[in-house]
Subunit: 94 residues, 4 copies
């Protein structure tokens, strides 16, 4: 991420790590719910919440990627690969 101020970069990184730690805990919680035969609807609600949290991590990563790598590639007149790659990732998420 060469053109982002390094303070923004490390802020985003810390936020991503915190969220991933929390998601890991959510997955472990779902494991325990299934293991102790919690009512399916309550488990399903937790799975939906966890999936939404993971989507938000994806969006934050995408934002970091666009502001960093993609912007830099375009400024370096080297956008063809960066834009193709970006579209590939977006397609996978939509």
């Amino acid at each position: 991420m060469p053109d982002m101020p390094s303070s923004t970069r490390s802020q985003n990184k810390q936020q991503l790590l915190n969220r991933l730690r929390k998601i890991e805990g959510q997955v472990r919680g779902i494991y325990r719910m299934v293991d102790s035969d919690t009512y399916c609807v309550d488990v399903l609600n937790q799975v939906a919440a966890c999936r939404a949290a993971l989507s938000r991590v994806g969006v934050l990563l995408l934002e970091t990627h666009i502001q960093g790598c993609v912007v830099q590639a375009i400024k370096d007149e080297d956008e063809a690969v960066a834009v193709d790659e970006l579209m590939e990732v977006i397609r996978r998420f939509i």
Copy 2:
């Protein structure tokens, strides 16, 4: 899940637990990727894969729920709440 044969029930449960264990490992892998500044596109691909795995867990849970709780509630002529609750969960997933 009163009306499923208990063998199917415990098979589904074991499959769910195995998948959740694997997803927990995927989330930890993504954490390490972010922590070691892996290229964003590679991280994003892992996030998309993990989210898809979580969706599949949701679908398997939903299937277990429908075949067990919902079918039983309908047979007991007690479907109103079960169907409302099911639609609520489906709405959250779509």
Copy 3:
């Protein structure tokens, strides 16, 4: 939909037809926006709104289907096919 009161059935049907008429209009609106070179972001917002409206039609149809066909099949002790078919449809939507 054999076991729904016919008033509910025809109410849902009329609601579905109204929504589909509106969605058809939205699609034609998007066509005109593209044709007249409207700013991409405005077109994209319309596409997202139209897709959300279509999802809501899907959820309403699913609800009608579960309350009618699926409930009836289960009461007739003929649930195997109905539940498989339902899971297939849900999988396609998630």
Copy 4:
């Protein structure tokens, strides 16, 4: 879309218009299916297909937007608004 070759631009535009015309036909088809009480599962499959077609239109529009407007804004050193707007649109789609 200032920096795309105008041939690509008009090709994409024609492709978008063709797809939107087809989606309009699909929506009308779904209307007729509901109106003539076609089996819910068949209607739901058409709704899923139509929603997927609309998502592909969204992705094509997004691609056109990124390759045109976003790349140009970045080259003009005027990326802040363009990147924010892009993230807003992506968030709406994910």
